[in-house]
Amino acid sequence: EAGVAQSPRYKIIEKRQSVAFWCNPISGHATLYWYQQILGQGPKLLIQFQNNGVVDDSQLPKDRFSAERLKGVDSTLKIQPAKLEDSAVYLCASSLHSRNSPLHFGNGTRLTVT
């Protein structure tokens, strides 16, 4: 089966600019996740979708981050305006179900904010 696809692979922007990341999950996977992984740390959940509904966005900085999964398939994550501390790898993952199902990760987008 095709894996989780993410683009772009790398992005460099200046602070206060905006950026968007795209994710296409594995076909048939109802649950989609966006994680932020800062260098040297484990992934931190930003938002979790079940089909096109938000299950958990409690750790999403909503003043600058937004995400959508309009048709319950692919998803976009946006940052506007970016801050230096947003420099990280943004990982998208999908799973068949939400609880106890293994996550399948994409290779991430590495964001550098200068």
């Binding site: 931190k44 990982l91 106890n100 399948h104 990760f105």
Partner: protein, 111 residues
């Protein structure tokens, strides 16, 4: 305070040695997963444990879930250079549905 504490944070060993990494918490988990992540890639699932006291083996890797479902360990026998990577544990608390990751153990196996 991290929900899941992993130790050691860094580990550098010679090929052929054995090692154990730990994942500890004060919370009870309905399941715990171990992932390995290589540079430039996303984490890849190694195993899921769901029953207290459960032991699972994957070739030279042995995973154990604590009896109280608060901790887990990963033991690697006769490490190989291909085992190099970031090992992450992740758990779902019994009271929630969020999969939370530990900070990881960076393992380097030298030839």
């Amino acid at each position: 305070t991290q929900l899941l504490e992993q130790s050691p944070q860094f580990l550098s060993i010679q090929e052929g040695e054995n090692l154990t990494v730990y994942c500890n918490s004060s919370s009870v988990f309905s399941s715990l997963q171990w992932y390995r992540q290589e540079p430039g890639e996303g984490p890849v699932l190694l195993v899921t444990v769901v029953t207290g006291g459960e032991v699972k083996k994957l070739k030279r890797l042995t995973f154990q879930f604590g009896d109280a479902r608060k901790d887990s360990s990963l033991h690697i026998t006769a490490a190989q250079t291909g085992d190099t990577g970031l090992y992450l544990c992740a758990g779902v608390e019994t009271s929630g549905s969020r999969l939370t990751f530990g900070e990881g153990t960076q393992l380097t196996v030298n030839p």
